[in-house]
Symmetry: C2
Subunit: 224 residues, 2 copies
């Protein structure tokens, strides 16, 4: 009996969230391709992490219609991924409009079919890029919508174990739990090595630096 | 400037909802293939209705991953579409788990990119098949989640003009507004003519009968 459906992009945060979920009960892993630039790399990370945890139930789905919808540097190749600016207080152009609602909808549907009671998502509100769909109050509202929009006996909790953590705390938690961080991928640019320059790379590198730990993945450049 | 994104399956209800939306301002039409048996027919209906209203902005997306998720007679060919039972009080096996959340997520994302302020969906709570994701309280909860999960300036209303109508009232409203009912398709089975036997055909035929109107589409059999 599957207890939890885990959304696993293959990034650092979702790998740590998955490690927490696996420690609590049987999991099914869900990966979603939304036409992002780095999908091939992310899917590879997903498969390595799923192998690592010997997960039987896996689902890889495609919502690359988000490319048709556009409006984000992550899904529209005409919009450049900007250089990092971790002090930016605006919502960055890498925001994919309402993306997490799509991920959660798939996770909830699959959880309802499997009879799972929980959905894990490694979203981070603190120390994050400022995406509105990464906020705790969004997840709370979506959980309520899911309760009303599924069978009466289906009551699925959306679990966000990292929501209030700083990146350095996520790194520490991952190391403490022996999360397979060596298989993760966070870079927004498509390349064989992480660029070390985009928002996502800088956040990750800052997290490892503050945690006084070594990031096990290779970088083209390490500005921190 | 697009005012509303309209979810248009090509069925009777969504065609009437679209007719109402078009009467209020500029619309963009959205059709979603979710791997249902009758998709080819529905897409044809969508295109005819969009042509009828001379809609420029159209988006056709594919979420046939719902076939991978399964759990419904509409998306899993191993599960038969059962004979109609309009008195059934259980949630029927044609329920596609949490389907409307997927449709709304795409509509909200596209509306945010277009700057549209409304999403129309022709869902019906009264006189319907008893799907939990067709209830007014689900739409209210989802609207709140959408408000929290998008940019602060994005405040999209989910408009359900048919939610409390009986099928016969929808038929009457469609006729009153000259909705292009001749292009619509409601049957759950894949065939060149509507079967006249499934839940959806029976609901539709009962609606026309109670409205004392003639359904303009052809049927294989008309039991009512």
């Amino acid at each position: 009996m599957v207890k939890s459906v885990v959304l696993l992009s293959g990034g650092l945060d979702s790998a740590v969230a998955a490690t927490i979920a696996v420690s609590k009960g049987e999991c099914a892993f869900l990966h979603i391709n939304y036409g992002q630039r780095t999908e091939a790399k992310e899917l590879d990370s997903f498969n390595r992490i799923a192998e690592h945890f010997k997960i039987q139930k896996r689902l890889v789905t495609d919502i690359s219609y988000l490319k048709q919808v556009g409006g984000s540097a992550l899904t529209d190749e005409r919009i450049d991924v900007p250089p990092a600016d971790l002090d930016n207080k605006e919502i960055p152009i890498t925001y994919v409009p309402f993306r997490n609602a799509h991920l959660l909808s798939i996770a909830i549907s699959w959880a309802e079919v499997l009879g799972a009671k929980e959905v894990y998502i490694g979203a981070v509100e603190e120390d994050s890029s400022g995406y509105p769909d990464c906020r705790a109050e969004f997840f709370k509202a979506f959980e309520k919508a899911a309760s009303l929009g599924t069978r009466p006996e289906t009551q699925i909790k959306i679990i966000t174990p990292l929501i209030n953590m700083r990146k350095s705390e996520i790194v520490k938690e991952g190391i403490r739990l022996s999360a397979p961080l060596q298989f993760t991928w966070s870079c927004y640019k498509d390349s064989s090595e992480a660029c070390g320059e985009c928002d996502s790379c800088l956040l990750r590198l800052r997290g490892f630096k503050e945690a006084e730990a070594i990031d096990p993945i290779p970088y083209k450049a390490k500005p921190l």
